[in-house]
């Protein structure tokens, strides 16, 4: 498909500029990375270090060097006089934590939003529906970090039901893992629930007015079947698209939630890299996040174009 090819090229161009932009920004960070890792060394020693780390090379050369290893999966090393650890090592430790958090948040949000959306669509206009909508609207206004802090306080500190910090891998102790991820996941999910619920509801209402639904009703199909079997599928297209695209919001929100609950994820890693002036690590981390986000967007677009014939045809 020529369209797909065009989109692919567009994607690559965007990715190139994204990495360029990241490299440019990190090069402008205040402070000297050599000072950060070898602050007490003499000027000569620092020059040697700068040379070794390639910091004296012109920016395009540094960029070229970084991007060529980046695309092969080598994210560079942390600067350290003791032989820096590969960034990839830290990423493989941290990425699962963040991904788990985002997945749990999404799943939680969908698990609540889908039934809520379906039911409120069915009972559109009723009091229950209005109440649900008002609640959803309210949930949208809660900043996720505020919710995280409030939860941490009431559930963690006052009631002591759940721990408020730290992370345990699921392989090690599934129970503890879940206990530590519940509040962070809820903090991230709440805002999404509202969005998804109202989106689905709106789509479902439109779908429920379509002819094929009327037909099914006439044929005597039960309301439940109609809702869940016939109406839900076409209506969920938008929802799934938005869920995919929301990854971006989730990533941003995840950083703060990670910091609040001390989860050692990508957000913490990013924050650490900024504080420690670890340029290469910072560059690679931001690039990974951005690239990941772009790819997800791209995949969602492709998926949508494939699934929704209306778009495919409208493109002419």
């Amino acid at each position: 498909m020529p369209v797909l090819l065009r989109r692919l090229v567009h994607l690559l161009v965007v990715l190139f500029f994204v990495t360029l932009f990241v490299a440019l920004l990190t090069s402008m960070l205040p402070g000297d990375p050599v000072d950060a890792i070898a602050g007490f060394a003499s000027e000569e020693q620092k020059d040697v270090l700068r040379q070794d780390l390639g910091l004296n090379d012109p920016l395009p050369v540094q960029y070229g060097r970084w991007i060529s290893s980046f695309v092969t999966g080598d994210l560079g090393n942390y600067y350290s006089v003791s032989g820096g650890r590969p960034v990839m090592d830290r990423v493989t430790d941290s990425l699962p934590v963040s991904l788990q958090l985002m997945v749990y948040a999404q799943v939680l949000a969908l698990v609540i939003a889908i039934p809520a959306g379906v039911v409120t669509a069915y009972r559109a206009g009723s009091r229950g529906d209005k109440a649900a909508n008002a609640t959803a609207f309210g949930m949208l206004a809660i900043p996720n970090f505020a919710l995280a802090l409030v939860l941490a306080y009431y559930v963690g500190v006052e009631l002591r039901w759940l721990p408020v910090s730290g992370y345990v891998p699921p392989g090690e102790d599934l129970g503890e893992h879940v206990r530590r991820m519940i509040m962070p996941a809820i903090s991230l999910a709440v805002g999404q629930i509202a969005v998804y619920m109202r989106l689905l509801r709106s789509d479902m209402i439109a779908t429920l007015q379509e002819d094929f639904i009327t037909m099914a009703k006439a044929k005597g199909v039960s309301p439940r079947r109609i809702l869940w079997r016939h109406a839900l599928r076409p209506s969920s297209l938008t929802l799934l698209t938005v869920a995919g695209l929301n990854i971006g919001t989730l990533i941003g929100g995840a950083i703060i939630v990670e910091v609040i609950f001390s989860l050692p994820g990508i957000g913490t890693l990013l924050y650490e890299a900024i504080s420690a002036r670890q340029y290469i690590a910072l560059q690679s981390l931001v690039a990974i996040i951005a690239v990941g986000y772009v790819l997800v967007n791209f995949l969602v677009d492709v998926l949508y174009a494939v699934l929704d014939p209306r778009i495919r045809h409208a493109r002419t």
Partner: protein, 559 residues
């Protein structure tokens, strides 16, 4: 650059900077607010421990110790810049050649003896026989020589930075026999044995780790009570019992008692506290006054054991840059000193539990003075000095105060600003991250910063912080009196108390730093966890100070 290690930073001695002693406080400055020593109401001398009669240690069990920070740079000790959290971990896996006793004097620890010659310019270190590292290799004079060379920048595989300056007076290190090392100095150095401890930083590494070009920072191999097991940065570091550990307790029992120790960095005070109370961790340290206060309450209720010494602490202070205005003018420094309202700061920032510092040496340390002549709170005097400064220089007395982005330091900065402005100064707070703060300190690109440093031990350990021209004399002052006293203290065995007291008074006269209060450190453990701060090198009585950590080999859990 994948895998490539920078070429050696060890350049010929001629080009190295002036020597200095201590590494201290690189990351310590991240939390420059705390309170210190509860003013002696804990019955004098030694620490306040609620755990005096714990009984006989039982073997087995695990301690999970909550630390205030992670040591992201890792465990390549000659190159590392450890703060207290790093030192705690080091204490688990490494041993130092010497260690302080209950009075703060150095005694041999990993070494069997550490003896100076007549004028303390040659030191002979005899090692214990039969000690092995965790990888099975033997502790020999050769390895110790390589360690010392590594710390001082004379070992090609390693590139230290701070320690190069610390060990500048070393001319050579020789192997005399398989268990004896001789260190030849370029001048007398009476407290060289204290530097061999360096507050617990100078652990002896196995040859394999010294030579490890790529993962020296991630594969620690020492002789210590615990053997490294696993490290996930920002999550935990675990070490398991070393069954071949060479040390015993005073009763002759094999150390350590624990099966395993785990360190968890929990930066947020509240979270660390919660973790202890909910049982997620069973030991922690803290230097934040609110937490210390809480711990006291819990201890009284029998819910935790706490150890809170009032000796050998460290000091929290405002560091001023004397190489540029306004603090190049002594009137500005005096004004700031007089503007500091300790009572208010104590009440608001420190839950009322700290004592005011009038000098760099906390109670218990050599050189401590209850009253050094340091300016007291006097707002009128401060205002008068500000006016004098302004008429003298024709400029307003304004400065920036750099504070690290942490809750406690920012609070302190805001209070200091309020107090300084009450006297007519103008203060701008700049919140920066750690790298920037250190950067600024090194390059002299700051005006005032909040710091915490100079923990207890031999005062000569502070040499390089105050010597003219030293790279870590961040204040950039050149005080010939202080230089003289520092050198005297380093080379004279007698009368050191007087020397350092004079130094203290000189600081009070010149106001190179505005001393605020003595930091309080506290270690809290679950009721069934004991053994803090453990024992001394040759007796049951331990060195009471914990401002730079404490040994963990003596910790035990009631079974």
């Amino acid at each position: 650059m994948p895998g490539k290690r920078p070429r050696g930073l060890g350049v010929p001695r001629a080009t190295r900077g002036r020597g200095f002693k201590r590494v201290a406080a690189m990351a310590v400055l991240a939390l420059a607010v705390t309170a210190c020593g509860g003013g002696g109401d804990d019955g004098g001398g030694g620490g306040a421990s609620s755990d005096e009669d714990a009984g006989t240690p039982t073997p087995g069990g695990k301690v999970i110790y909550g630390l205030e920070a992670e040591t992201t740079d890792g465990w390549c000790l000659p190159e590392a810049q450890l703060a207290i959290s790093g030192i705690m971990v080091t204490q688990a896996m490494y041993d130092t050649l010497t260690r302080p006793n209950a009075e703060g004097e150095m005694e041999p620890w990993l070494a069997e003896s550490v003896e100076p010659n007549e004028d303390s310019s040659v030191w002979t270190i005899k090692l214990r026989d039969g000690v092995t590292f965790h990888d099975g290799s033997e502790l020999t004079a050769e390895v110790v020589k390589n360690n010392l060379d590594a710390y001082r920048g004379a070992y090609p595989a390693r590139s230290p930075q701070l320690f190069i300056f610390v060990f500048q007076p070393i001319e050579s290190v020789e192997v005399v026999d398989p268990l004896t090392v001789q260190v030849n100095l370029s001048q007398p150095w009476v407290s060289f044995d204290a530097t061999l401890h360096s507050s617990g930083r100078l652990g002896m590494l196995a040859q394999a780790q010294l030579d490890d070009a790529t993962s020296c920072a991630e594969q620690p191999i020492g002789t210590g009570p615990f053997k490294f097991s696993d490290w996930v940065p920002n999550q935990k570091l675990t070490a398991e019992r070393n069954p071949d550990y060479w040390a015993t307790d005073a009763a002759g029992e094999q150390l350590p008692y624990l099966d395993e120790i785990e360190f968890r960095p929990i930066v947020e005070e509240e979270q660390r506290r919660n973790a202890l109370e909910s049982g997620e961790i069973n030991a922690m340290h803290t230097s934040i006054a609110d937490t210390v206060d809480e711990v006291r309450t819990l201890s009284e209720a029998g819910e935790v054991n706490d150890y809170e010494p009032d000796e050998f602490g460290e000091v929290t202070y405002l560091m001023m840059n004397e190489s540029k205005p306004p603090f190049d003018n002594i009137k500005a420094r005096q004004a700031l000193a007089h503007a500091f309202d300790f009572e208010e700061a104590n009440a608001i920032l420190n839950a009322g539990i700290v004592t005011q510092a009038t000098g760099p040496f906390a109670p218990g340390n050599i050189g401590h003075l209850d009253d050094s002549g340091f300016p007291t709170f006097d707002l009128d005097e401060a205002t008068r000095l500000v006016d004098e400064y302004e008429s003298e220089t024709g400029k307003d007395l304004e400065f920036t105060y750099s504070a690290v982005n942490a809750a406690a330091t920012i609070k302190q900065a805001q209070l200091v600003k309020e107090q300084a402005e009450a006297a007519g100064m103008t203060v701008e707070i700049v919140t920066v991250d750690q790298s920037t703060l250190i950067d600024g300190a090194i390059s002299g690109d700051f005006e005032a910063q909040g710091w915490r440093n100079h923990p207890g031990g031999d005062p000569d350990l502070q040499y390089n912080w105050w010597k003219s021209g030293s790279p870590v004399n961040f204040n950039k002052f050149e005080d010939p009196e202080i230089d003289r006293l520092l050198d005297e203290g380093r080379t004279t065995a007698e009368g050191r108390d007087e020397i350092y007291e004079e130094l203290n008074r000189r600081f009070a006269e010149e106001i190179h730093n505005v001393w605020l209060w003595y930091t309080v450190w506290s270690v809290a453990t679950a009721p069934e966890v004991h053994g803090v701060p453990g024992e001394g090198p040759t007796s049951e009585d331990p060195f009471p100070g914990i401002a730079s950590g404490h040994p963990v080999g003596y910790m035990w859990v009631e079974q």
